[in-house]
Amino acid sequence: MSNDFYKTSIIPYSGIIIKLCRAYTNSQEDFEDYFQEVCLQIWRSKENFREESEWSTWVYRISLNVCLTLLKKKKKNRQHFVSDSITTEETEDNYAFSDESLNLLYDAIRKLSEIDRAIIMLYLEEKSYQEIADIMGTNSNNIGVRVKRIKTKLKKILDGKIN
């Protein structure tokens, strides 16, 4: 990946990638792996970008797909190990932001289903319901209802933690 591409097409959008990768990982090591893989895939698929959407939406789409694929792979590997009777434990190195509330919110987001995680992240990134619907391949009404439901779920998880 050329330095120029990294500086101009990835760094300005690294915020989105970082936020998303954090939501799908539990450790710094996994986070770095996911981040690197997302960057590589963005670079590899740059030729396919048709400018039908914003570059940030494109980046989000790739990031989401890569995260979901890696998560699936990880789950499959874990199942494989378990079926081989080798006990494996999820390695968590308790990566923490300096903002405690953000840490709690991330913990709560990680408790959501994979799709709910994606939707709420897009919502928190201030994407419109229509944009979220386009990315997720559904309609905006559906997204509206789902966002409300996810927010209630998150609030419950957060209240439980805080109390």
């Binding site: 990946m1 690294s14 770095e32 960057c39 932001f97 903002d99 919110l105």
Partner: protein, 218 residues
């Protein structure tokens, strides 16, 4: 006052540590090692499978009455395993401390060497396996006499004028030699086809990765 999740999100990311991107440094190294480790695992499993199969076939051949086939088969596959076991040692010697490009290049060179040696071996192996089958069945006991002789006596009943060389029909000798020659000629191709059937995906990934790194270097 209770903060909304939207505010927690916005304010949380205002702090400088929240969005620090990790450096991209060892991705290719990790990927290279991963691909080659995968190949090594598959290669070892393949060798174990060949050893297991040749043992099973050897034992089965005695029960079926074609021990010559079993023994020749076993010997040929043993030579194949020994050759590839020594090739594998060369693969283990590749230094993981090399840069990912050098590591992949070294692996690629090893693959080329391995393919060349196995292709030459395949030119002998497939004909030997075929001939071991022919000989095995020829000497298989068929009610007191070898199956081959019994077969010839049956053929001679129908074609008494058939030309024989050392008691074997010339046409049968030609057919066997023709098949063995074709196997010798196309042995290398058969091996390559078999190789890509098993390791094709790994080779494809390797090629893509090398192309990526080469593009990066230019």
């Amino acid at each position: 006052m209770e903060r909304s999740i939207e505010n927690i999100w916005k304010e949380g990311f205002l702090k400088s540590d929240a969005l620090v991107a990790p450096t991209i440094n060892n991705l290719y190294t990790k990927k290279s090692i991963h691909i080659i480790d995968k190949f090594k695992r598959m290669f070892k499993i393949n060798l174990i499978a060949i050893v297991a199969f040749s043992f099973i076939f050897l034992i089965a051949s005695f029960f079926v009455g074609i021990p010559i086939t079993g023994i020749l088969f076993f010997m040929t596959l043993t030579v194949l395993v020994i050759i590839n076991k020594s090739l594998l040692k060369g693969l283990e010697k590749i230094d993981k401390g090399l840069s990912s490009y050098q590591y992949l290049k070294a692996f690629n060179q090893w693959i080329e060497k391995q393919v060349t040696i196995n292709k030459s071996f395949a030119s002998f192996m497939y004909p030997i396996i075929f001939l071991s089958m022919v000989i095995g069945f020829w000497f298989k006991d068929a009610e007191g006499i070898p199956l081959g002789k019994r077969l010839i006596s049956e053929v001679l009943k129908g074609f008494p004028d058939i030309y024989l060389i050392y008691g074997i029909p010339l046409i049968a000798i030609i057919a066997v030699l023709l098949i063995a020659s074709l196997l010798a000629i196309f042995g290398g191709k058969i091996y390559q086809w078999d190789l890509y059937l098993v390791y094709g995906r790994v080779f494809k990934k390797l090629k893509e990765l090398m192309a990526d790194i080469e593009e990066l270097k230019n």
